[in-house]
């Protein structure tokens, strides 16, 4: 085991822990915050099933974004769908390859081009459209740069300077099964993995939380039935039960 392999092993354990625990805690935090009023953006579904369908259209087809701006939609949609394919393909480094996984390997490979094109489109918009430039912080550019770095370093290994993927798989299997084995000594691979770890680390404290967050968005996930079913939050109920007008008059206990 080289020093670098040990370092990367620790890094990926930490990154995984922080990603899973951090995102989990954040989601839990959001679900614990009351939604005191019915605020679905209408027209909204009037059944729970309808809400599931609305959310499906939103997260799979980016329906609202499509209505908003066709370019942003195109770049974002291409990027996200390509990212899914690339991610799926990468499961081969953690588990045995079945029929499905081997079927999607080529799609996952070439999806990386679409991913980079999508990212370039999003970056171009951020630079060229004055309105989007105005709202962009350095972190917004860095996030795109990070994703592009990951994609390009990955593509280098897939299409130009191959790395020993059997060894890579051994390394990650080792992290899971505690049967450690080293990483290949490839600078591109190390860069690729470092950037991925950074992405995992910043996920819970950045705007990447939009991914789980959209499911919890009251304007999208509420059923439009306020007249039929009374909706009331705990803190508002306290006002009612104690017959108070203002929250600072409510007694807790």
């Amino acid at each position: 085991m080289t020093f670098v392999s040990i370092l990367y092993g620790l890094l990926f354990w930490a990154a995984t822990l922080i990603l899973v625990v951090g995102v989990g805690r954040r989601i839990y935090f959001y679900t614990q915050i009351p939604v005191p009023l019915k605020i679905p953006t209408t027209p909204a579904p009037i059944t729970q099933g309808g809400v599931v369908w609305r959310m499906f259209r939103e997260v799979v087809f980016f329906q609202s974004l499509f209505r908003a701006n066709k370019y942003t939609w195109l770049f974002a949609f291409v990027f996200h769908m390509a990212l899914w394919l690339v991610l799926l393909r990468h499961t081969r480094y953690f588990m045995e390859i079945g029929a499905f996984l081997s079927f999607i390997q080529p799609f996952g490979k070439y999806a990386s081009f679409a991913m980079v094109l999508g990212l370039m489109g999003l970056l171009a918009r951020r630079i060229l459209v004055d309105r989007v430039r105005y709202i962009s912080a350095p972190s917004d550019f860095l996030m795109l740069a990070l994703l592009m770095g990951i994609a390009l370093s990955g593509m280098l290994m897939t299409f130009v300077a191959h790395t020993d993927i059997v060894m890579v798989k051994g390394f990650f299997r080792g992290l899971i099964t505690f049967d450690f084995s080293p990483l290949p000594a490839s600078p591109i691979l190390l860069l690729h993995l470092l950037l991925v770890a950074v992405l995992m680390l910043v996920f819970p404290i950045s705007k990447l939380m939009h991914a789980p967050g959209v499911f919890l968005s009251p304007t999208r996930n509420q059923v439009d039935n306020p007249r039929e079913k009374r909706h009331i939050s705990k803190w508002a109920l306290a006002l009612e039960q104690q017959q108070k007008t203002y929250l600072d008059e409510v007694k807790h206990g």
Binding site: F29, I33, P45, I135, S136, S206, L239
Partner: protein, 526 residues
């Protein structure tokens, strides 16, 4: 008309998206509420004016602002989530009528949210605490407060941006929270808070006491009788009526609102439905929503519950008012429910258009459409009705009901361009607590997208009148459309059209005047 720089219309139906002009709308914002008004709304009032007449902030304003922000983000998931998950994709940047009309980038929805988000990040997030420059986090300073006050009062909370956001981020939620924070540090808006305190004191936004209201309604009865020869009742505080009508107080005197009120009265009369207004809850509007104050919004809403109980009505019906209908439809059951003491056959509350359209469908109203043949109508979807409520039992009923009623009473109706109607409708430019003369420039510029759409159908399809179902829309349009070369008479209430076309069959009201019971001459009571 005072002198304002009025945007030029291109006649194509849509406004070209402008390039940003930073600080185009920099300024002080609307007039600030005095401590007395703040006190009436249970907000801190420990601030004064300095020698130049400028309002100071409350003591420890910074700490109190941050405490309030922290409180709100733990009570409203919308706020916490929306501050966190925006990816700055820019989808909303060209959707706000105030951005389109003013070109000020801080009127882009995401930039408006950022005014608060930057402070939230600085004090409540890891990245903002340790790497503020990287994520655009800023310290809370008096300049930031000034920007909040100015730009959160350039948002009409119309939610158009939330339609287009891939995560449904609703700037209204953020601007309401910001206004609530401002209210806690001595930066309430005079217009909103003065109005709310009038509701608490008198019962309506106008401060119209019971005798004045009774007098006004009597005058309306006389007007309708002079016009039709029939005594159509406008009952006030009449116990035992079937319907409590809650309508914006502008309906009692403003034009064209009052013509709409006459329409409701005629519909009730013709259908033989007894009804009453309440002097205690003589206001449909609920400005508590505009200032983001659940407590004050609830306090106003509870008056309606009390009035309904006291007057022993069976149904609650709301008149034409946009945000009132959002509060009524979406929030009333939450704020002042449950309404198990009302007739379960009817939804609580109902919109007057639900009543009228139901009666038209049942063939209970005799209509002479030709009475409106002098007009070609179009319809302005009010933002709060379109994106924050519903009518009927199907999604989108809020678009169908008003159009169905208009088409049932008028022969000529055309819609404005598709991207300006239904849930893509533009705010009139005066919603969200901005309908005040000290924001006139903003109101004129904010109306531009709607004016562009109206001009298009005027020129292309001969539209002569635009109908609306919101007191604020009606007041705003009658005031600003002259700047764009239209006439204020071109704005009409939907129930004004109903009023015109409705042929009264019922000669005698089913509801006797309480004071007429003993009269000999004209006792209509059967």
């Amino acid at each position: 008309m005072a002198d304002y720089e009025v945007p030029k219309l291109n006649g194509e139906g849509y406004v070209e998206i402008p390039t940003i002009k930073p600080d185009a709308m920099a300024g002080k914002g609307p007039f600030i509420a005095k401590p007395d008004f703040q006190k009436a709304l249970h907000f801190p009032a420990d601030f004064q004016t300095d020698e130049q007449g400028k309002f100071e902030l409350v003591a420890d304003w910074k700490e109190r602002a941050l405490t309030k922000l922290d409180d709100l983000r733990h009570r409203y998931r919308s706020l916490q989530l929306y501050l966190d998950i925006c990816v700055k994709c820019g989808a909303c940047t060209d959707k706000c009528h105030y951005y389109i009309g003013t070109h000020d980038p801080k009127n882009m929805p995401v930039a408006r949210q950022d005014l608060l988000r930057k402070v939230y990040r600085r004090y409540f997030t890891f990245a903002g605490k340790h790497f503020p420059k990287l994520v655009g986090a800023v310290d809370l300073t008096e300049e930031v407060v000034d920007d909040w006050y100015n730009y959160y009062h350039q948002c009409s909370q119309c939610r158009r941006c939330s339609v287009y956001c891939p995560y449904g981020i609703d700037t209204a939620e953020v601007s309401m929270a910001a206004r609530e924070i401002l209210d806690h540090i001595g930066r309430g808006s005079k217009y909103n808070n003065e109005i709310i305190s009038k509701v608490f004191k008198v019962g309506n936004n106008l401060g119209l006491p019971q005798p004045a209201l009774a007098d006004t309604l009597e005058g309306l009865e006389e007007d309708v009788e002079a016009d039709t020869g029939i005594k159509v009742r406008f009952p006030l505080d009449e116990e035992g009526a079937e319907v409590l009508l809650v309508t914006p107080s502008a309906d009692f005197f403003a034009e064209p609102h009052v013509d709409g009120l006459m329409g409701y009265a005629k519909v009730f009369h013709e259908a033989g439905i007894t009804w009453t207004l309440s002097s205690y809850a003589s206001e449909g509007a609920n400005f508590g929503m505009f200032i983001g104050s659940y407590e004050n919004m609830r306090r106003i809403a509870l008056r309606i519950r009390e009035a309904a109980i006291k007057l022993k009505v069976k149904r609650i019906v709301f008149g034409e008012c946009g945000h009132a209908w959002r509060v009524a439809y979406s929030f009333l059951n939450t704020l002042a429910g449950p309404f198990d003491f009302l007739d379960p056959k009817y939804p609580v509350p109902q919109h007057i258009l639900e009543v009228t359209w139901g009666l038209i469908q049942d063939g209970k109203l005799v209509i002479d459409k030709s009475q409106n043949d002098d007009k070609v109508l179009t319809f302005h979807d009010s933002c709060n009705v379109a994106r924050g409520s519903r009518m009927g039992d199907k999604p989108g009923g809020q678009f169908e009901y008003p159009r169905n009623v208009i088409k049932a009473v008028c022969n000529h109706f055309v819609d404005m361009p598709a991207d300006t109607i239904h849930d893509a409708t533009y705010c009139c430019g005066g919603g969200g607590g901005l309908l005040t003369d000290d924001l006139m420039e903003l109101r004129i510029k904010g109306a531009q997208p709607r004016m562009e759409a109206l001009k298009y159908v005027t020129e292309q399809q001969g539209v002569t009148h635009m109908a609306a179902i919101c007191a604020i829309c009606k007041s705003q349009f009658t005031k600003v459309i002259p700047y764009y070369g239209f006439k204020m008479e071109q704005i009409v209430s939907v129930h004004q059209l109903v009023s015109k076309a409705l042929v009264l069959q019922r000669q005698v009201s089913v509801q006797a005047r309480p004071d007429e019971d003993d009269d000999d001459d004209d006792n209509d009571d059967a």
